[in-house]
Protein backbone atom coordinates (compact mmCIF):
# COMPACT_ATOMS: atom_id res chain seq x y z
CA UNK A 1 0.00 0.00 0.00
CA UNK A 2 2.74 2.35 0.98
CA UNK A 3 4.47 1.87 -2.36
CA UNK A 4 1.21 2.27 -4.27
CA UNK A 5 0.59 5.75 -2.82
CA UNK A 6 4.10 6.71 -3.59
CA UNK A 7 3.63 5.74 -7.24
CA UNK A 8 0.38 7.79 -7.42
CA UNK A 9 2.13 10.86 -6.09
CA UNK A 10 4.84 10.41 -8.67
CA UNK A 11 2.20 10.15 -11.39
CA UNK A 12 0.48 13.30 -10.18
CA UNK A 13 3.72 15.23 -10.18
CA UNK A 14 4.44 13.99 -13.69
CA UNK A 15 0.95 15.00 -14.84
CA UNK A 16 1.33 18.47 -13.32
CA UNK A 17 4.60 19.00 -15.14
CA UNK A 18 3.13 17.76 -18.42
CA UNK A 19 0.09 19.99 -18.02
CA UNK A 20 2.17 23.07 -17.23
CA UNK A 21 4.26 22.45 -20.30
CA UNK A 22 1.13 21.81 -22.40
CA UNK A 23 -0.45 25.07 -21.13
CA UNK A 24 2.56 27.07 -22.01
CA UNK A 25 2.67 25.54 -25.49
CA UNK A 26 -1.02 25.70 -26.35
CA UNK A 27 -1.78 28.91 -24.59
CA UNK A 28 1.12 31.34 -25.24
CA UNK A 29 0.82 34.96 -24.24
CA UNK A 30 -1.36 36.95 -26.60
CA UNK A 31 0.28 39.71 -28.56
CA UNK A 32 -0.75 41.89 -31.48
CA UNK A 33 1.76 42.29 -34.26
CA UNK A 34 1.17 45.11 -36.71
CA UNK A 35 3.26 45.78 -39.80
CA UNK A 36 3.37 49.50 -39.38
CA UNK A 37 7.16 49.56 -39.05
CA UNK A 38 7.57 47.93 -42.46
CA UNK A 39 4.97 50.24 -43.99
CA UNK A 40 6.72 53.22 -42.37
CA UNK A 41 10.09 52.36 -43.93
CA UNK A 42 8.58 51.62 -47.31
CA UNK A 43 6.66 54.91 -47.30
CA UNK A 44 9.67 56.92 -46.12
CA UNK A 45 11.86 55.42 -48.85
CA UNK A 46 9.33 56.21 -51.55
CA UNK A 47 8.77 59.76 -50.25
CA UNK A 48 12.50 60.47 -50.07
CA UNK A 49 13.27 59.28 -53.60
CA UNK A 50 10.27 61.07 -55.09
CA UNK A 51 11.13 64.28 -53.25
CA UNK A 52 14.72 64.14 -54.51
CA UNK A 53 13.41 63.71 -58.03
CA UNK A 54 10.86 66.51 -57.73
CA UNK A 55 13.41 69.04 -56.47
CA UNK A 56 15.67 68.06 -59.38
CA UNK A 57 18.54 66.73 -57.27
CA UNK A 58 18.18 62.98 -57.74
CA UNK A 59 20.85 62.72 -60.44
CA UNK A 60 23.41 64.75 -58.50
CA UNK A 61 22.69 62.95 -55.22
CA UNK A 62 22.79 59.53 -56.89
CA UNK A 63 26.48 59.98 -57.61
CA UNK A 64 27.53 62.22 -54.74
CA UNK A 65 27.17 60.42 -51.46
CA UNK A 66 28.07 63.50 -49.46
CA UNK A 67 25.07 65.53 -50.67
CA UNK A 68 22.75 62.57 -50.28
CA UNK A 69 23.92 61.95 -46.73
CA UNK A 70 23.36 65.61 -45.80
CA UNK A 71 19.83 65.47 -47.20
CA UNK A 72 18.97 62.21 -45.47
CA UNK A 73 20.50 63.34 -42.18
CA UNK A 74 18.19 66.32 -42.34
CA UNK A 75 15.00 64.46 -43.31
CA UNK A 76 15.42 61.14 -41.47
CA UNK A 77 18.00 61.83 -38.75
CA UNK A 78 19.27 58.58 -37.30
CA UNK A 79 19.25 59.90 -33.74
CA UNK A 80 15.49 60.55 -33.95
CA UNK A 81 14.25 57.78 -36.21
CA UNK A 82 16.83 55.04 -35.52
CA UNK A 83 16.92 54.62 -39.30
CA UNK A 84 20.15 54.08 -41.16
CA UNK A 85 20.42 54.58 -44.88
CA UNK A 86 22.54 53.49 -47.82
CA UNK A 87 22.34 53.87 -51.58
CA UNK A 88 23.66 52.36 -54.77
CA UNK A 89 23.48 52.98 -58.50
CA UNK A 90 23.37 50.35 -61.20
CA UNK A 91 23.47 50.26 -64.96
CA UNK A 92 25.61 53.29 -65.70
CA UNK A 93 29.19 54.50 -65.60
CA UNK A 94 30.64 54.63 -62.10
CA UNK A 95 32.00 57.93 -60.75
CA UNK A 96 35.42 56.29 -60.41
CA UNK A 97 36.72 53.67 -62.82
CA UNK A 98 39.71 51.62 -61.88
CA UNK A 99 41.73 50.51 -64.89
CA UNK A 100 44.12 47.60 -64.46
CA UNK A 101 46.75 48.38 -67.07
CA UNK A 102 48.69 45.35 -68.27
CA UNK A 103 51.24 47.57 -69.94
CA UNK A 104 54.67 49.12 -69.62
CA UNK A 105 55.43 51.99 -67.29
CA UNK A 106 55.70 54.38 -70.26
CA UNK A 107 52.29 53.30 -71.52
CA UNK A 108 50.75 53.67 -68.08
CA UNK A 109 52.24 57.14 -67.62
CA UNK A 110 51.00 58.13 -71.07
CA UNK A 111 47.51 56.86 -70.24
CA UNK A 112 47.41 58.84 -66.99
CA UNK A 113 48.48 61.89 -68.98
CA UNK A 114 45.87 61.36 -71.71
CA UNK A 115 42.77 60.79 -69.66
CA UNK A 116 41.79 63.40 -67.14
CA UNK A 117 38.55 63.89 -65.32
CA UNK A 118 35.58 63.43 -67.60
CA UNK A 119 32.43 65.47 -67.18
CA UNK A 120 29.30 63.65 -68.29
CA UNK A 121 25.79 64.97 -67.79
CA UNK A 122 27.13 67.42 -65.22
CA UNK A 123 28.92 64.85 -63.06
CA UNK A 124 32.59 63.96 -62.85
CA UNK A 125 34.11 60.62 -63.75
CA UNK A 126 37.64 59.86 -62.64
CA UNK A 127 39.99 57.16 -63.84
CA UNK A 128 42.31 55.41 -61.44
CA UNK A 129 44.97 53.71 -63.52
CA UNK A 130 46.98 51.01 -61.78
CA UNK A 131 49.67 48.70 -63.10
CA UNK A 132 48.68 45.09 -63.30
CA UNK A 133 50.06 41.90 -64.70
CA UNK A 134 47.97 39.12 -66.17
CA UNK A 135 48.95 36.68 -63.44
CA UNK A 136 47.46 37.81 -61.22
CA UNK A 137 45.13 40.48 -62.57
CA UNK A 138 44.35 43.37 -60.24
CA UNK A 139 40.86 42.10 -59.56
CA UNK A 140 39.32 45.09 -57.78
CA UNK A 141 39.49 46.94 -61.07
CA UNK A 142 36.55 47.65 -63.40
CA UNK A 143 38.37 47.19 -66.69
CA UNK A 144 41.53 45.43 -67.80
CA UNK A 145 43.62 47.06 -70.50
CA UNK A 146 45.87 44.62 -72.36
CA UNK A 147 48.25 46.80 -74.31
CA UNK A 148 50.62 45.52 -76.97
CA UNK A 149 51.84 42.02 -77.83
CA UNK A 150 51.38 39.84 -74.80
CA UNK A 151 51.38 36.09 -74.51
CA UNK A 152 47.83 35.12 -73.58
CA UNK A 153 47.84 31.40 -74.39
CA UNK A 154 49.47 30.37 -71.12
CA UNK A 155 46.93 28.24 -69.22
CA UNK A 156 47.05 30.29 -66.04
CA UNK A 157 46.80 33.64 -67.86
CA UNK A 158 43.94 32.33 -69.98
CA UNK A 159 42.13 31.17 -66.85
CA UNK A 160 42.71 34.52 -65.13
CA UNK A 161 41.30 36.41 -68.11
CA UNK A 162 38.30 34.10 -68.31
CA UNK A 163 37.59 34.51 -64.59
CA UNK A 164 37.98 38.28 -64.87
CA UNK A 165 35.44 38.38 -67.71
CA UNK A 166 33.06 36.03 -65.87
CA UNK A 167 33.09 38.49 -62.96
CA UNK A 168 31.34 40.89 -65.38
CA UNK A 169 34.36 43.16 -65.69
CA UNK A 170 35.49 44.50 -69.04
CA UNK A 171 38.61 43.99 -71.13
CA UNK A 172 40.11 46.25 -73.79
CA UNK A 173 42.96 45.01 -75.95
CA UNK A 174 45.13 47.34 -78.03
CA UNK A 175 47.15 45.20 -80.38
CA UNK A 176 48.12 44.44 -83.96
CA UNK A 177 48.27 40.91 -85.33
CA UNK A 178 50.68 41.35 -88.19
CA UNK A 179 53.00 38.49 -89.09
CA UNK A 180 51.82 36.15 -86.37
CA UNK A 181 50.45 32.67 -86.67
CA UNK A 182 47.02 31.52 -85.58
CA UNK A 183 45.30 33.55 -82.91
CA UNK A 184 45.21 32.03 -79.45
CA UNK A 185 42.15 30.81 -77.56
CA UNK A 186 41.71 34.11 -75.69
CA UNK A 187 41.43 36.06 -78.95
CA UNK A 188 39.10 33.51 -80.48
CA UNK A 189 36.85 32.66 -77.56
CA UNK A 190 36.79 35.82 -75.45
CA UNK A 191 37.25 38.54 -78.05
CA UNK A 192 35.51 36.44 -80.69
CA UNK A 193 37.98 37.32 -83.45
CA UNK A 194 39.90 35.24 -85.94
CA UNK A 195 42.10 35.75 -88.96
CA UNK A 196 40.11 36.84 -91.98
CA UNK A 197 41.54 34.06 -94.13
CA UNK A 198 40.18 31.46 -91.70
CA UNK A 199 36.69 32.99 -91.80
CA UNK A 200 36.65 33.85 -95.53
CA UNK A 201 39.54 31.99 -97.18
CA UNK A 202 40.82 33.82 -100.26
CA UNK A 203 38.62 36.89 -99.74
CA UNK A 204 40.84 39.04 -97.62
CA UNK A 205 42.49 41.47 -100.01
CA UNK A 206 42.97 45.01 -98.74
CA UNK A 207 41.43 47.81 -100.80
CA UNK A 208 42.49 51.40 -101.23
CA UNK A 209 40.53 53.22 -98.51
CA UNK A 210 42.80 55.11 -96.16
CA UNK A 211 40.34 56.24 -93.52
CA UNK A 212 38.74 54.46 -90.60
CA UNK A 213 35.09 55.06 -89.89
CA UNK A 214 32.28 53.83 -87.65
CA UNK A 215 30.97 51.34 -90.21
CA UNK A 216 28.70 49.46 -90.09
CA UNK A 217 26.80 52.04 -88.05
CA UNK A 218 24.67 50.57 -85.27
CA UNK A 219 21.10 50.84 -86.51
CA UNK A 220 19.49 50.04 -83.18
CA UNK A 221 20.24 50.42 -79.49
CA UNK A 222 20.39 46.64 -79.17
CA UNK A 223 23.50 46.41 -81.38
CA UNK A 224 26.63 45.42 -79.53
CA UNK A 225 28.53 48.45 -80.82
CA UNK A 226 25.80 50.94 -79.96
CA UNK A 227 26.98 51.99 -76.48
CA UNK A 228 30.62 52.56 -77.38
CA UNK A 229 29.46 54.37 -80.54
CA UNK A 230 27.21 56.55 -78.39
CA UNK A 231 29.93 57.25 -75.82
CA UNK A 232 32.42 58.28 -78.54
CA UNK A 233 29.98 60.76 -80.04
CA UNK A 234 28.33 62.06 -76.87
CA UNK A 235 30.90 62.33 -74.13
CA UNK A 236 32.97 65.52 -74.09
CA UNK A 237 36.71 64.89 -74.09
CA UNK A 238 38.43 67.38 -71.76
CA UNK A 239 41.40 69.11 -73.39
CA UNK A 240 43.51 71.16 -71.04
CA UNK A 241 45.44 74.22 -72.03
CA UNK A 242 49.19 74.16 -71.73
CA UNK A 243 50.10 77.75 -70.95
CA UNK A 244 48.85 81.29 -70.46
CA UNK A 245 49.58 83.85 -73.13
CA UNK A 246 49.15 87.65 -73.06
CA UNK A 247 47.71 87.73 -76.59
CA UNK A 248 47.46 85.72 -79.79
CA UNK A 249 46.95 86.26 -83.49
CA UNK A 250 43.21 86.29 -84.11
CA UNK A 251 43.66 86.87 -87.87
CA UNK A 252 40.49 88.21 -89.46
CA UNK A 253 38.44 87.56 -86.34
CA UNK A 254 37.47 90.11 -83.73
CA UNK A 255 40.17 90.17 -81.12
CA UNK A 256 39.73 88.68 -77.68
CA UNK A 257 38.75 91.29 -75.10
CA UNK A 258 39.90 89.19 -72.22
CA UNK A 259 41.99 90.99 -69.59
CA UNK A 260 45.71 90.29 -69.84
CA UNK A 261 47.02 86.97 -68.55
CA UNK A 262 43.68 85.21 -68.78
CA UNK A 263 44.10 83.82 -72.28
CA UNK A 264 44.95 80.15 -72.13
CA UNK A 265 46.53 78.38 -75.05
CA UNK A 266 46.22 74.69 -75.84
CA UNK A 267 46.42 72.16 -78.61
CA UNK A 268 43.79 69.82 -79.99
CA UNK A 269 45.15 67.01 -82.11
CA UNK A 270 42.68 65.72 -84.67
CA UNK A 271 43.49 63.33 -87.50
CA UNK A 272 47.21 63.47 -86.74
CA UNK A 273 47.35 67.26 -87.07
CA UNK A 274 47.88 69.60 -84.15
CA UNK A 275 45.62 72.66 -84.02
CA UNK A 276 46.12 75.41 -81.49
CA UNK A 277 43.24 76.97 -79.59
CA UNK A 278 42.95 79.88 -77.20
CA UNK A 279 40.36 80.26 -74.45
CA UNK A 280 39.27 83.86 -74.24
CA UNK A 281 38.08 84.39 -70.66
CA UNK A 282 36.21 87.59 -71.37
CA UNK A 283 32.66 88.43 -70.28
CA UNK A 284 31.44 85.57 -72.42
CA UNK A 285 33.85 82.68 -72.59
CA UNK A 286 34.81 81.77 -76.13
CA UNK A 287 37.41 79.63 -77.83
CA UNK A 288 39.47 80.66 -80.86
CA UNK A 289 40.57 77.72 -82.98
CA UNK A 290 43.16 77.34 -85.67
CA UNK A 291 41.28 74.89 -87.89
CA UNK A 292 43.37 75.28 -91.04
CA UNK A 293 46.69 74.27 -89.57
CA UNK A 294 48.21 77.77 -89.74
CA UNK A 295 50.20 77.77 -86.60
CA UNK A 296 49.50 80.64 -84.27
CA UNK A 297 46.56 82.08 -86.21
CA UNK A 298 42.96 81.56 -85.20
CA UNK A 299 40.32 81.30 -87.92
CA UNK A 300 37.10 80.54 -86.05
CA UNK A 301 35.50 81.48 -82.75
CA UNK A 302 33.22 79.05 -80.94
CA UNK A 303 31.13 79.48 -77.82
CA UNK A 304 29.49 76.87 -75.69
CA UNK A 305 27.30 74.55 -77.79
CA UNK A 306 28.77 75.65 -81.14
CA UNK A 307 29.61 73.16 -83.86
CA UNK A 308 32.79 73.73 -85.83
CA UNK A 309 34.79 71.85 -88.41
CA UNK A 310 38.41 70.78 -88.43
CA UNK A 311 39.70 68.88 -91.46
CA UNK A 312 36.12 68.23 -92.64
CA UNK A 313 35.20 66.61 -89.32
CA UNK A 314 32.40 68.20 -87.36
CA UNK A 315 33.06 68.80 -83.66
CA UNK A 316 30.90 70.21 -80.88
CA UNK A 317 32.18 72.49 -78.16
CA UNK A 318 30.41 71.11 -75.08
CA UNK A 319 31.86 73.28 -72.34
CA UNK A 320 34.47 75.94 -71.67
CA UNK A 321 36.24 76.42 -68.37
CA UNK A 322 39.10 78.80 -67.69
CA UNK A 323 41.78 76.30 -68.66
CA UNK A 324 39.96 73.34 -70.16
CA UNK A 325 37.47 72.77 -72.95
CA UNK A 326 35.25 69.79 -73.64
CA UNK A 327 34.72 68.74 -77.23
CA UNK A 328 32.79 65.84 -78.68
CA UNK A 329 32.91 64.27 -82.11
CA UNK A 330 29.80 64.52 -84.26
CA UNK A 331 28.41 61.56 -86.17
CA UNK A 332 30.34 60.68 -89.32
CA UNK A 333 33.77 61.18 -87.77
CA UNK A 334 36.60 59.49 -89.67
CA UNK A 335 40.04 58.62 -88.32
CA UNK A 336 43.16 58.67 -90.42
CA UNK A 337 44.36 55.12 -90.88
CA UNK A 338 45.95 53.43 -87.87
CA UNK A 339 45.24 49.85 -88.89
CA UNK A 340 48.36 47.84 -89.48
CA UNK A 341 48.35 46.42 -93.02
CA UNK A 342 48.94 42.87 -91.86
CA UNK A 343 46.17 42.87 -89.29
CA UNK A 344 43.41 41.19 -91.25
CA UNK A 345 40.80 40.02 -88.79
CA UNK A 346 37.08 39.33 -88.75
CA UNK A 347 34.47 38.36 -86.15
CA UNK A 348 34.76 34.62 -85.70
CA UNK A 349 30.98 34.22 -85.96
CA UNK A 350 30.84 36.45 -89.11
CA UNK A 351 28.63 38.88 -87.18
CA UNK A 352 29.31 42.25 -88.84
CA UNK A 353 27.37 44.09 -86.15
CA UNK A 354 30.28 43.46 -83.76
CA UNK A 355 32.57 45.63 -85.87
CA UNK A 356 32.87 49.09 -84.32
CA UNK A 357 35.44 50.60 -86.69
CA UNK A 358 36.43 49.55 -90.16
CA UNK A 359 38.73 50.62 -92.95
CA UNK A 360 36.65 50.05 -96.07
CA UNK A 361 35.94 46.50 -97.17
CA UNK A 362 38.05 43.51 -98.17
CA UNK A 363 38.58 43.52 -101.95
CA UNK A 364 35.57 42.37 -103.99
CA UNK A 365 33.47 41.70 -100.87
CA UNK A 366 31.01 43.56 -98.68
CA UNK A 367 32.96 42.49 -95.58
CA UNK A 368 34.37 45.43 -93.61
CA UNK A 369 38.06 45.39 -92.65
CA UNK A 370 37.80 45.72 -88.87
CA UNK A 371 39.91 48.14 -86.90
CA UNK A 372 37.94 47.48 -83.72
CA UNK A 373 35.68 44.57 -82.77
CA UNK A 374 33.56 44.24 -79.66
CA UNK A 375 32.02 41.21 -78.01
CA UNK A 376 29.65 40.68 -75.11
CA UNK A 377 29.23 36.92 -75.04
CA UNK A 378 30.85 36.51 -71.62
CA UNK A 379 31.36 40.08 -70.56
CA UNK A 380 32.03 43.29 -72.48
CA UNK A 381 35.36 43.07 -74.32
CA UNK A 382 36.84 45.09 -77.18
CA UNK A 383 39.82 44.74 -79.44
CA UNK A 384 41.22 47.78 -81.23
CA UNK A 385 44.15 48.01 -83.61
CA UNK A 386 47.20 49.66 -82.07
CA UNK A 387 46.96 53.42 -82.59
CA UNK A 388 49.71 53.98 -80.03
CA UNK A 389 52.76 52.80 -81.93
CA UNK A 390 54.28 56.20 -81.24
CA UNK A 391 53.02 57.33 -77.85
CA UNK A 392 53.81 60.96 -78.63
CA UNK A 393 51.57 60.99 -81.68
CA UNK A 394 48.34 59.79 -80.16
CA UNK A 395 45.63 62.29 -81.08
CA UNK A 396 42.61 63.44 -79.11
CA UNK A 397 40.36 61.38 -81.38
CA UNK A 398 42.32 58.23 -80.43
CA UNK A 399 42.10 59.14 -76.75
CA UNK A 400 38.34 59.53 -77.04
CA UNK A 401 38.11 56.15 -78.76
CA UNK A 402 39.99 54.52 -75.91
CA UNK A 403 37.83 56.31 -73.33
CA UNK A 404 34.64 55.14 -75.10
CA UNK A 405 35.83 51.55 -75.14
CA UNK A 406 36.92 51.59 -71.51
CA UNK A 407 33.66 53.19 -70.39
CA UNK A 408 31.57 50.66 -72.32
CA UNK A 409 33.48 47.66 -71.05
CA UNK A 410 33.78 48.82 -67.42
CA UNK A 411 31.91 47.09 -64.65
CA UNK A 412 28.68 48.94 -63.92
CA UNK A 413 27.53 47.12 -60.82
CA UNK A 414 27.84 48.62 -57.37
CA UNK A 415 28.15 46.44 -54.31
CA UNK A 416 25.87 47.24 -51.43
CA UNK A 417 27.67 47.47 -48.13
CA UNK A 418 24.83 46.65 -45.75
CA UNK A 419 23.20 43.43 -44.77
CA UNK A 420 21.87 41.70 -41.66
CA UNK A 421 19.56 44.52 -40.68
CA UNK A 422 16.73 43.79 -38.31
CA UNK A 423 14.36 45.34 -40.79
CA UNK A 424 15.12 47.07 -44.06
CA UNK A 425 13.56 48.16 -47.31
CA UNK A 426 15.11 49.06 -50.65
CA UNK A 427 13.34 51.63 -52.83
CA UNK A 428 14.34 51.45 -56.50
CA UNK A 429 13.84 54.25 -58.99
CA UNK A 430 14.79 54.37 -62.65
CA UNK A 431 16.16 57.82 -63.44
CA UNK A 432 17.08 59.44 -66.73
CA UNK A 433 19.38 62.32 -67.63
CA UNK A 434 20.13 63.79 -71.02
CA UNK A 435 22.53 66.74 -70.92
CA UNK A 436 25.41 65.28 -72.91
CA UNK A 437 23.94 61.88 -73.62
CA UNK A 438 20.85 59.85 -72.80
CA UNK A 439 21.62 58.01 -69.59
CA UNK A 440 19.29 55.60 -67.83
CA UNK A 441 20.19 54.02 -64.51
CA UNK A 442 18.66 52.50 -61.42
CA UNK A 443 18.97 54.26 -58.09
CA UNK A 444 18.37 52.22 -54.94
CA UNK A 445 17.81 53.86 -51.60
CA UNK A 446 17.90 51.57 -48.61
CA UNK A 447 16.43 52.39 -45.21
CA UNK A 448 16.54 50.08 -42.25
CA UNK A 449 16.50 49.62 -38.53
CA UNK A 450 19.79 48.19 -37.33
CA UNK A 451 18.37 47.12 -33.94
Amino acid sequence: MKNKAFVSILEIIAVIIILIVAFSIFSPGFFYQNRWEQAFISLKGRDLVLTLDRIGNLYQYSFDERFLRDFLDKMVPTNLTNLIHWSRVQGTIKPKITVACACTKEQRDALINWIGRLKINGRNIDFDIVSSGLDPIYDTSDVLLIWGDQKLDDFKIKTNIQNYARANKGIVEIRDFDGQGDLDDVQKNIFGIDRCDRVFPGKCGIGGTTEISFEPKPDSATRKTYTSFKYFHSIPLPISTTNEVPSFNSGQLSSCTSPPNVINEGVVEIRDVRHKFWICNGETKSVYFDTEGNPDEADIIAVNGDKFTIDNQELLLRYIESNVIGISFESGYMFTNFLDGGTKLYPKDEDQSRILLSKGTYTNTQNPIPASIVNDDVSRVAWVSDFTKDLTKVGDDHKMLLVALMLWTSDKRYVSGLSNLRLGHLTSYVNVNNIDMYEVYRFDLGLGFPF
Binding site: S8, I12, V15, I16, L19, F23, S27, G29, F30, Y32, N34, W36, L43, K44, D47, L48, L50, T51, R54, I55, G56, K74, M75, V76
Partner: protein, 175 residues
Protein backbone atom coordinates in the same frame (compact mmCIF):
# COMPACT_ATOMS: atom_id res chain seq x y z
CA UNK B 1 -16.82 4.65 -0.07
CA UNK B 2 -18.30 4.23 -3.49
CA UNK B 3 -20.06 7.63 -3.48
CA UNK B 4 -16.95 9.49 -2.48
CA UNK B 5 -14.98 11.33 -5.14
CA UNK B 6 -11.42 10.30 -5.56
CA UNK B 7 -8.40 12.50 -5.00
CA UNK B 8 -7.55 12.18 -8.70
CA UNK B 9 -10.95 13.61 -9.59
CA UNK B 10 -10.43 16.67 -7.42
CA UNK B 11 -7.00 17.11 -8.77
CA UNK B 12 -8.19 16.97 -12.40
CA UNK B 13 -10.98 19.42 -11.61
CA UNK B 14 -8.54 21.87 -10.07
CA UNK B 15 -6.26 21.64 -13.07
CA UNK B 16 -9.17 22.27 -15.41
CA UNK B 17 -10.38 25.26 -13.43
CA UNK B 18 -6.83 26.63 -13.36
CA UNK B 19 -6.56 26.24 -17.10
CA UNK B 20 -9.86 27.94 -17.84
CA UNK B 21 -9.13 30.74 -15.37
CA UNK B 22 -5.71 31.44 -16.79
CA UNK B 23 -7.12 31.56 -20.30
CA UNK B 24 -9.91 33.85 -19.19
CA UNK B 25 -7.50 36.13 -17.34
CA UNK B 26 -5.25 36.35 -20.34
CA UNK B 27 -8.16 37.29 -22.56
CA UNK B 28 -9.42 39.85 -20.09
CA UNK B 29 -6.02 41.50 -19.76
CA UNK B 30 -5.32 41.35 -23.50
CA UNK B 31 -8.63 42.73 -24.68
CA UNK B 32 -8.07 46.46 -23.84
CA UNK B 33 -4.67 46.35 -25.47
CA UNK B 34 -6.11 44.58 -28.50
CA UNK B 35 -8.96 47.02 -28.96
CA UNK B 36 -6.54 49.95 -28.56
CA UNK B 37 -4.29 48.50 -31.22
CA UNK B 38 -7.23 48.00 -33.56
CA UNK B 39 -8.23 51.60 -33.01
CA UNK B 40 -4.63 52.68 -33.55
CA UNK B 41 -4.56 50.81 -36.82
CA UNK B 42 -7.72 52.53 -37.94
CA UNK B 43 -6.32 55.93 -37.00
CA UNK B 44 -3.00 55.23 -38.73
CA UNK B 45 -4.87 54.24 -41.81
CA UNK B 46 -6.94 57.41 -41.62
CA UNK B 47 -3.84 59.56 -41.09
CA UNK B 48 -2.21 57.93 -44.11
CA UNK B 49 -5.31 58.50 -46.23
CA UNK B 50 -5.49 62.16 -45.22
CA UNK B 51 -1.80 62.63 -46.02
CA UNK B 52 -2.23 60.94 -49.42
CA UNK B 53 -5.24 63.10 -50.18
CA UNK B 54 -3.39 66.27 -49.25
CA UNK B 55 -0.17 65.37 -51.07
CA UNK B 56 -1.37 63.68 -54.21
CA UNK B 57 -4.79 65.16 -54.88
CA UNK B 58 -5.34 68.56 -56.49
CA UNK B 59 -8.68 69.04 -54.73
CA UNK B 60 -11.96 69.93 -56.37
CA UNK B 61 -12.07 72.18 -58.25
CA UNK B 62 -8.38 72.06 -59.13
CA UNK B 63 -8.10 75.83 -58.62
CA UNK B 64 -9.92 75.83 -55.26
CA UNK B 65 -7.19 78.02 -53.79
CA UNK B 66 -8.24 80.82 -56.14
CA UNK B 67 -12.00 80.65 -55.51
CA UNK B 68 -12.32 79.60 -51.87
CA UNK B 69 -12.50 83.16 -50.51
CA UNK B 70 -15.38 84.27 -52.71
CA UNK B 71 -17.17 81.03 -53.55
CA UNK B 72 -16.49 78.61 -50.75
CA UNK B 73 -19.61 76.58 -51.50
CA UNK B 74 -18.05 75.56 -54.80
CA UNK B 75 -15.10 73.93 -53.05
CA UNK B 76 -15.85 70.24 -52.54
CA UNK B 77 -12.49 68.81 -51.61
CA UNK B 78 -9.09 70.07 -50.49
CA UNK B 79 -5.82 68.91 -51.97
CA UNK B 80 -2.37 70.46 -52.08
CA UNK B 81 -0.92 68.74 -55.16
CA UNK B 82 0.34 71.00 -57.93
CA UNK B 83 -2.24 70.51 -60.70
CA UNK B 84 -0.05 72.08 -63.37
CA UNK B 85 2.78 69.59 -62.99
CA UNK B 86 0.55 66.74 -61.80
CA UNK B 87 3.34 64.82 -60.11
CA UNK B 88 3.21 62.81 -56.93
CA UNK B 89 4.75 64.33 -53.77
CA UNK B 90 4.83 67.80 -55.33
CA UNK B 91 2.91 70.43 -53.41
CA UNK B 92 1.76 73.83 -54.63
CA UNK B 93 2.91 76.69 -52.42
CA UNK B 94 -0.23 78.69 -53.34
CA UNK B 95 -2.47 75.87 -52.17
CA UNK B 96 -0.49 75.46 -48.96
CA UNK B 97 -0.95 79.17 -48.22
CA UNK B 98 -4.68 79.00 -49.06
CA UNK B 99 -5.14 75.90 -46.87
CA UNK B 100 -3.50 77.65 -43.93
CA UNK B 101 -5.59 80.80 -44.47
CA UNK B 102 -8.79 78.75 -44.62
CA UNK B 103 -7.95 76.88 -41.45
CA UNK B 104 -6.95 80.04 -39.55
CA UNK B 105 -10.06 81.88 -40.76
CA UNK B 106 -12.20 83.34 -37.96
CA UNK B 107 -15.39 82.89 -39.99
CA UNK B 108 -17.65 80.04 -38.88
CA UNK B 109 -15.50 77.95 -41.10
CA UNK B 110 -11.89 77.60 -40.24
CA UNK B 111 -10.85 74.30 -38.77
CA UNK B 112 -14.36 72.77 -38.92
CA UNK B 113 -14.67 73.59 -42.60
CA UNK B 114 -11.34 71.93 -43.27
CA UNK B 115 -12.58 68.82 -41.41
CA UNK B 116 -15.73 68.84 -43.52
CA UNK B 117 -13.88 69.26 -46.81
CA UNK B 118 -11.53 66.43 -45.95
CA UNK B 119 -14.39 64.32 -44.58
CA UNK B 120 -12.56 63.74 -41.32
CA UNK B 121 -14.74 62.57 -38.44
CA UNK B 122 -12.11 62.43 -35.74
CA UNK B 123 -9.85 65.19 -34.50
CA UNK B 124 -6.89 66.01 -36.70
CA UNK B 125 -3.93 68.28 -36.89
CA UNK B 126 -1.77 69.16 -39.90
CA UNK B 127 1.67 70.70 -39.82
CA UNK B 128 3.48 71.50 -43.06
CA UNK B 129 7.04 72.76 -42.85
CA UNK B 130 9.59 73.91 -45.36
CA UNK B 131 12.84 72.26 -44.30
CA UNK B 132 15.15 73.58 -47.00
CA UNK B 133 16.02 76.51 -44.81
CA UNK B 134 18.13 75.99 -41.68
CA UNK B 135 15.26 76.42 -39.23
CA UNK B 136 12.04 74.86 -40.58
CA UNK B 137 9.44 77.41 -41.69
CA UNK B 138 5.83 76.52 -40.81
CA UNK B 139 3.57 76.85 -43.85
CA UNK B 140 0.47 75.17 -42.45
CA UNK B 141 -0.43 74.79 -38.81
CA UNK B 142 -4.02 73.60 -38.68
CA UNK B 143 -5.34 72.35 -35.35
CA UNK B 144 -8.37 72.87 -33.10
CA UNK B 145 -8.16 75.32 -30.25
CA UNK B 146 -8.21 72.54 -27.67
CA UNK B 147 -7.64 68.89 -27.98
CA UNK B 148 -7.08 65.97 -25.70
CA UNK B 149 -7.36 62.32 -26.34
CA UNK B 150 -6.29 58.92 -25.26
CA UNK B 151 -5.37 57.51 -28.63
CA UNK B 152 -3.40 59.47 -31.13
CA UNK B 153 -1.31 58.57 -34.16
CA UNK B 154 1.01 60.57 -36.37
CA UNK B 155 2.33 60.16 -39.83
CA UNK B 156 5.14 62.23 -41.33
CA UNK B 157 5.54 62.49 -45.09
CA UNK B 158 8.42 64.01 -47.01
CA UNK B 159 7.40 66.25 -49.88
CA UNK B 160 8.72 68.70 -52.46
CA UNK B 161 7.33 72.16 -53.17
CA UNK B 162 6.82 73.61 -56.59
CA UNK B 163 9.43 76.28 -55.88
CA UNK B 164 12.20 73.68 -55.60
CA UNK B 165 12.29 73.45 -51.82
CA UNK B 166 11.30 70.45 -49.74
CA UNK B 167 9.71 69.78 -46.40
CA UNK B 168 7.55 67.56 -44.24
CA UNK B 169 3.83 67.11 -43.83
CA UNK B 170 2.82 65.83 -40.43
CA UNK B 171 -0.73 64.58 -39.96
CA UNK B 172 -1.93 63.66 -36.52
CA UNK B 173 -5.30 61.98 -35.94
CA UNK B 174 -6.95 61.16 -32.64
CA UNK B 175 -10.15 59.93 -31.14
Amino acid sequence: MKAQLSFEYYFALIIFVMFVSSLFLKLITFFPFYSAEIENQRLRSEAYQISELLINDVGYPGNWYEVYESELEKVKRLGLSDGGKNKTNLISMDKATAFNDLCQSSLPLGYDKVLELLDVKDGFWVLLTNDKVDSPEILIGCSPNEFSSKIRTNITRIIAFDDGSFGQLRVSVWK
